[in-house]
Assembly symmetry: C2
Homo-oligomer: 214 residues x 2
């Protein structure tokens, strides 16, 4: 069985931890990042640093344009909320983003003969995003095996979600144990001059977790 | 219920027919096409003509780069077969292409409040492509409804495949009845100076169907 894997790498805390975990599980990791029309491209620079730091076998950065239709505070002219986490699906939800990312990862995986895809979804701290839930991932995995030559011919593509049931604190502790340098990562939805805003949901969750660990 | 629809439009015969059918079913049609790193971009020009001719409400052409990893005769330096249709999955299969196209259509649909996506897959003449089969489409539809805010909140996204059980002849007759001008469409996998090669699978199937109709 091939031990190649495609690892979705955003430049944030979660996906850096996933790359470290996939490495630790002896996968040869091919990282994949997206310019997708997000507000800030600084996260791609972070992804490049993380891929190098953690020794990814390769790193493809590809461009798609989700701002062509918008529909999210991350891809359109909608303010990022800064008054604390709220109930329901936040406006930072990007329509079908994880489906789009996973489908590209699937094409890449099939083209290089990889049967494994890693994604840093997490249902604990971001329960508002429908495409971070286990039901979605399991359904995508089934679809992936029906969609592809490799799936139809009898191999099985797997979507790995090592963080899905972890708290943010558990994620960070796991990554620190595997040598992740979190100073290279960026979580903020709306950085100002490259610095985290410290007010959006992503900053709040990240900062609260680090404060508890220290 | 919203009657907006996103229609995947390639510039080929099948998707032009699908757009005509969706129009006929009274959907307001938002066409979506891709520069995806294919050998020939002439099909985008065809898609633009067809969208205008059939009165699409809008037409987004977006760019993705499936040639970043290749794996197909359509996106990499692999010869397009010209010695007749053969058994099995042909080398013109592009890894996960329909999953990638549908996932973009899903994001677009959700962003504009459309619950309907049309795609011109056809299981009769192209049975070699795994992502043209009903099992795949049904699985993608389930995934779509788990992936999105609109699906989780109780609406139902539908993937429409009006051509799936039709022969090429039936498709063409249907389109002619709805006023499709097939001279605007292009099916060839490997056009030479903008002209169809007349030898690839797509040309052979198209030409045989038109010959039988005339």
């Amino acid at each position: 069985m091939s031990k190649r894997a495609v690892v979705l790498l955003s430049g944030g805390l979660d996906s850096a931890t996933v790359l470290a975990i996939a490495n630790h599980q002896k996968y040869t990791c091919h990282a994949l990042s997206f310019h997708y029309g997000q507000r800030h491209d600084g996260e791609i620079v972070c992804a490049q640093k993380v891929a190098k730091h953690l020794g990814a076998a390769s790193h493809v950065v590809t461009t798609i344009d989700l701002s062509a239709w918008g529909g999210s505070a991350l891809t359109a002219d909608i303010d990022v909320p800064k008054d604390g986490c709220s109930d329901g699906i936040p406006v930072t939800y990007v329509p079908a983003r994880n489906t789009i990312f996973l489908s590209h990862a699937l094409g890449y995986a099939e083209a290089i003969g990889a049967l494994n895809i890693f994604i840093g979804v997490n249902a604990v701290d971001y329960s508002g995003y429908p495409d971070c839930r286990r039901e979605f991932i399991e359904s995508f995995e089934k679809t992936a095996n029906l969609a592809t030559k490799v799936g139809v011919e009898g191999s099985r593509i797997r979507i790995h979600t090592p963080l899905i049931d972890m708290t943010k604190i558990e994620i960070i502790k796991s990554g620190l144990g595997l040598g992740v340098d979190y100073s290279m990562t960026q979580s903020c939805y709306d950085p100002q001059n490259g610095m985290p805003c410290k007010q959006c949901d992503a900053c709040r969750i990240r900062d609260a977790a680090f404060a508890e660990i220290e």
